[in-house]
Amino acid sequence: MKRTRSAVLATTSVLALSLAACGGAESGGGSAAGGGEFTPRGDVTMIVPFGAGGGSDLAGRATATMIEAANADVNVNVENREGGSGAVGYSNFLGQAGDPETLLATETALLALPISGDVEFDYTDFTPIMKLGDDFTLMIVGADSPYQTCTDVVEAAKTERITAGISGITGLDNIVFTLTEQQAGVEFDRVPFESGGELTAALLGGQIDIASLNPGEIIGQLQAGEVKALCAYSEERYSDYEELADIPTAEEQGIDVAFAQFRGVLAPGGIDEAARQFWIETMQAAVETDEYQQYIEENYLQANTAAGDEFVEYLEGNNELLTQVLGG
């Protein structure tokens, strides 16, 4: 493991300080302090709206572990409710309104599904608790690709055909490619795949020119020199991770695009304020645990957290951007 644990720890201890400042000095035991009268009755259920083994499942299970680490009185059971790219899980969660003993491991599908128009909920139907982190993507090409920067790719797209593999219409990769196209006035030809693994195989086999993948999905190939990362679609470089720190951001290369898949926790709509406060405080304690650190590092996330109202604000901004990309 060549990760710079110290750097990550440094960043998050700053973060922890600022959180502690606004959160009201939580020191681990969430139930005893602050929040009010609420404590969960019995076991808490963490719904994962995707199948076992995927990125959402990992996030849900990690969140359950960190909640238990932060508050020994709370026991969290993870339950997978998959189907319809998350639609089934979120729709079921809609029916849990007012039940403060159920949480949901959320991500970008919370915004993308309502925009696609097939579901009856949107993010305002739920109670956002905590954003855990951001998973950005890197633009990846094969090792023998002629392109050295994202600018090269955009320039080339003006005169020739560039095939871009994507993992689905509402996928993060399709969103950043669409934003890039809008910025640069070019067009990529999409080839739809179903997962990061399939995209990696297609890149290695020379079936497609470019793909946009999460660092965690491609780090193995990257370290082996089988593929090249041209730029990161993130606001800032991955300076916490030694092996990714040299990758410039798209903005540095003149393409002003940064978009992340977020990971977070939702409570159902219609829960009372005491319960909301309890979960916000519990999650604020949870993101200070070693379990949280481990989750962030193993998945190459950027530890950008946002609690309660801040998370709501983030969702509002993100939703606007997504509507513009996917709705148009």
Binding site: G51, G53, S91, T163, P192, S195, G197, L204, G220, E226
Partner: protein, 512 residues
């Protein structure tokens, strides 16, 4: 490489690793037996329990669950026509018929032996030749996969039974059912009628449980309670004749399964169907297939096991999952703090070779576990059907519920149970429908991707050499029997043995 194998075995043979390997294959067998609970779910659910173990030990156990469930899936397919795993659907066709004739023991034994031989062959190939095979697999882009899917569709003819048109119609119905859900190209929802449940399509495993398990029970109930099968112990044992007949099918199934297994996404289900189809063509007893031919159990069982092992080729050498379960296993690597990818063999030799060596050991354990147990399991059929039917219905429905933790799966099982009942009454062939359902999404994906890569031109299937080769085999498979029959008729030599020329073509195709 010998050094590596020694290192691997010395790792895998430690007491702790042996123990967890045994636990893994045992749990895997049980998971395979339970309908609905496949290896993917099994590995994902048990993954957190392995976190306290050493990474290599945890992976050995998880991998044991994976290939153990390939053995387990067969048991219920044969005994009660309820496939525990998607890849053992084909086994029900002849396996269940054998059980009805009192030969369940032989069917289960040959499944265990076939799986074992296939595992050893595919592991030898994996150990010796994984990197070149992985490179080969990467050459299979969308156009090549499209050709493979066309080859798969061509196999339907083998499943059509006596009435070819009816078989093709049922395959078409399967393909149509597969179109429900979100279109992979544009993201538009099709035939979902506003239901969020239909967005991800009609789920394959539930359909299978409905058609085969529930449909069969309903049909049997209408027939009046069948007498329990009272076979003597001797009949339950596998005979020398059975073994002799199964040798060829197992070998062909193993190599075919391996080839399909290294292609990411094609998977063991398709491999088992292809192996059955080819065997039916090749075998002198082709006509007996579907009525309890042991070849029809041996070939697909060998193929699905070989494919399951071959899935590890892209997984270990490239860090790209070969199938759904290996994708979860890759997730396990990450949780243990091990980065899968091309450097894995260099950076983690103890882990990789220990894992590979454990595959050999695990398969030996499975063989010794399953061979003596085959006649014992077969004795279960002595239970009167009055007790058996409710039990099958119950496990089917509970199994369905456990897939997605919701009632939707249960409804799908019930609806397809009723459909299955009527299909049996009307004597409509089910296998083509299932194959259409399996191939539908894969075929569509390859079609959309090929069209995108070729900028709308699908003819690139004929201009890329590898794709062209596969297409040629597909065309041969459809055309060969007709051409051969015509040639033979023209010659009309009285002593011409029809099976010989028919033998050579499809056998060649199994190597393609």
């Amino acid at each position: 490489m010998l050094d590596n194998l020694v290192l691997g075995f010395s790792t895998a043979l430690s007491v702790e690793n042996l123990l967890w390997c045994f636990v893994g294959v045992l749990v895997g067998t049980v998971i395979g037996v339970l309908p609905g609970l496949g290896s993917t779910t099994g590995v994902a659910v048990l993954l957190p329990l392995t976190l306290s173990l050493e990474p290599v030990t945890g992976l050995i156990m998880l991998a044991g669950i994976y290939y153990g469930s390939q053995y387990g899936g067969t048991i219920t397919s044969v005994l009660i026509s309820t496939p525990g795993e998607a890849s053992s659907v084909v086994t029900t066709l002849d396996g269940y018929q054998m059980a009805r004739q009192g030969r369940a023991g032989a069917a289960l034994s040959i499944a265990a032996i076939g799986s074992f031989v296939a595992a050893i062959i595919s592991l030898a190939l994996l150990v010796a030749l994984a990197p070149p095979f992985a490179e080969f697999a990467l050459d299979f882009g969308p156009p090549e996969m499209l050709a493979v899917m066309i080859l798969g569709l061509a196999t339907i003819i083998s499943f059509a039974g006596d009435n070819r048109v009816l078989g093709l119609l049922m395959a078409l119905v399967g393909l149509l059912i597969a179109t429900v859900g979100v279109d992979p190209g544009s993201g538009t929802s099709r035939f979902t009628f506003g239901s969020i449940y239909l967005l991800s399509g009609i789920p394959f495993v539930e359909v299978m449980i409905g058609l085969f398990a529930v449909g069969e029970v309903l049909y049997q109930i209408r027939q009046g309670a069948a007498a329990p099968i009272r076979a003597g112990f001797r009949e339950l044992m596998i005979s020398r004749e059975d073994l002799r007949r199964s040798g060829g099918p197992i070998l062909r199934g193993s190599f075919l399964g391996f080839l399909f297994g290294i292609l990411p996404g094609a998977g063991s289900t398709l491999a088992s169907f292809m192996a059955y189809g080819i065997e039916k063509r090749v075998s002198k007893r082709g006509k007996e297939f579907g009525t309890g031919a042991i070849e029809g159990v041996a070939a697909p069982e060998a193929a699905n096991n070989a494919a399951a092992n071959a899935n590890f080729v892209p997984t270990l050498t490239l860090g790209i999952p070969g199938g759904a379960t290996t994708a979860v296993l890759l997730g396990a690597f990450m949780i243990y703090g091990i980065q899968p990818g091309p450097l894995l063999f260099d950076e983690q030799p103890t882990l990789v070779w220990g894992l590979l060596a454990s595959f050999f050991i695990g398969n030996v354990i499975l063989l010794f576990l399953n061979l003596p147990l085959a006649p014992v399991f077969a004795q279960l059929l002595r239970v009167p059907y009055g007790y058996m039917y409710p039990l099958i219905l119950l496990t089917s429905l509970v199994g369905a519920y456990s897939i997605t933790n919701g009632m939707y799966s249960v409804w799908v099982v019930l609806v397809f149970g009723i459909i299955g009942y009527f299909m049996k009454r009307l004597d409509l062939p089910m296998a083509p429908l299932v194959l259409g359902l399996v191939l539908g999404p894969l075929f569509e994906k390859a079609l959309v991707q090929t069209s995108a890569i070729g900028d709308g031109n699908l003819l690139i299937v004929f201009t890329r050499p590898l794709a062209l080769a596969v297409m040629a085999i597909a065309i041969l498979q459809v055309a060969a029997p007709t051409i051969m029959a015509r040639l033979l008729r023209r010659r009309a030599t009285p002593r011409s043995r029809r099976s010989d020329p028919a033998d050579s073509t499809p056998e060649g195709s199994s190597r393609g």
